[in-house]
């Protein structure tokens, strides 16, 4: 796989490739900001949370637990488990950034999310020049949008009744549907990819009988990736 002539990427191109994720981030970040404000966090605290934790589901859960008066240790432990799936994504991206220094890879990883991972794994083959700049462009755009969305949610949330009505929460699943479809149509290994898809979806449904959602996602993904690997010659 990969193109024979190395493509040269840029920060600007990364920012442009971030555009399809913006709507999803905006709606989820907005909702997170509403809930964080409801949990009694100040605007500054919400900004800090979006800057240093920067994780959708973890911020929702944090707000919920703060509201319920949970102890700090149990909040931190929950955030750890919820974000453990990034371990897989970071590992999957690692071979594409083998040419860069550990510090650069640390900075690239620090802003890794489900969405930027999806875009990066669809876009990068590993041969591009300046993939680091591209990734920073993608990451910085995504997080800036996320912080703004959180703050907007905190400021304006009270005025918008039932944001679910506008279907915006579907921006995120729709993006993953689009990304997965692109991986499959580009790779053209339909049999194996359908096996991976089947194992991931079926594995999730099965794992969700016993595990909370975020762990079920991880268990299903590991299972499906193993299935894909063992059927490869």
């Amino acid at each position: 796989m990969g193109s024979q002539t190395a493509e040269t990427l840029s920060f600007r191109q990364g920012a442009i490739d971030c555009v399809p994720t913006l709507l999803g981030y905006l709606s989820i970040g907005f909702a997170a900001g509403v809930i964080e404000a409801t949990a009694g966090m100040s605007l500054l605290e919400i900004g800090l949370l979006s800057l240093f934790v920067y994780a959708g589901s973890a911020q929702f859960i944090t707000a919920g637990m703060v509201m319920a008066g949970a102890p700090i240790a149990s909040i931190v432990a929950t955030v750890f488990i919820v974000n453990l799936r990034h371990l897989l994504m970071s590992a999957a991206l690692a071979p594409k950034f083998a040419a860069y220094t550990p510090l650069k890879n640390f900075l690239i990883g620090a802003q890794l999310t489900d969405e930027t991972f999806g875009v990066a794994s669809g876009r990068l083959t590993g041969g591009e020049r300046h993939a680091d700049r591209w990734m920073f462009g993608l990451n910085v755009t995504a997080q800036a949008n996320w912080i703004i969305a959180n703050l907007l949610g905190a400021l304006l949330g009270g005025w918008i009744a039932d944001p679910g009505r506008y279907g915006l929460h579907y921006a995120l699943p729709a993006m993953f549907i689009g990304l997965a479809a692109m991986v499959v149509t580009q790779r053209k290994q339909y049999k194996r990819d359908l096996l991976v898809i089947g194992c991931a979806a079926g594995g999730f449904a099965l794992a969700f009988l016993w595990l909370p959602g975020h762990l079920a996602v991880m268990a299903a993904a590991v299972l499906a990736a193993i299935a894909g690997a063992v059927t490869e010659r």
Binding site: E45, A55, H86, G109, Q111, Y170, A201, A225, I226, G228
Partner: protein, 107 residues
């Protein structure tokens, strides 16, 4: 505009436990020569993760199974069709949002 001491500890703790899984593999694995089976495994991780995330949002609301009388899961089909036909991420996102809004309006 204030930051409580308790919030600060929560923030520091959450930031560290989020940072570790995000950065550790990128820092360590990118320096190593991985054996073939590990590379094969990692090659399938993106599709596997994305499918599992889609399954989570179609089948559940994150914490529990979706109730069967919520028609929102139907949005999956037209969204997938648009994804396969247009191969455009942006159009797919817009189609998904439009379908979900339409289904919510019909419900």
């Amino acid at each position: 505009m204030s930051v409580s001491r308790e919030f600060l500890w929560m923030l520091i703790g959450s930031a560290i436990v989020t940072l570790i899984p995000r950065t550790l593999p990128l820092v360590l694995i990118s320096r190593m020569k991985l054996p073939g089976y590990a590379m094969k495994f990692l090659k399938h991780v993106p599709l596997a993760v994305m499918t599992a995330l889609v399954a989570q949002s179609v089948l559940t609301d994150g914490e529990s199974w979706r109730s069967p009388d919520n028609p929102e899961w139907l949005a999956f089909f037209p969204t997938l069709a648009v994804a396969l036909l247009t191969r455009s991420l942006l159009l797919t996102v817009l189609a998904g949002v439009g379908c979900a809004a339409l289904l919510a309006w019909l419900a």
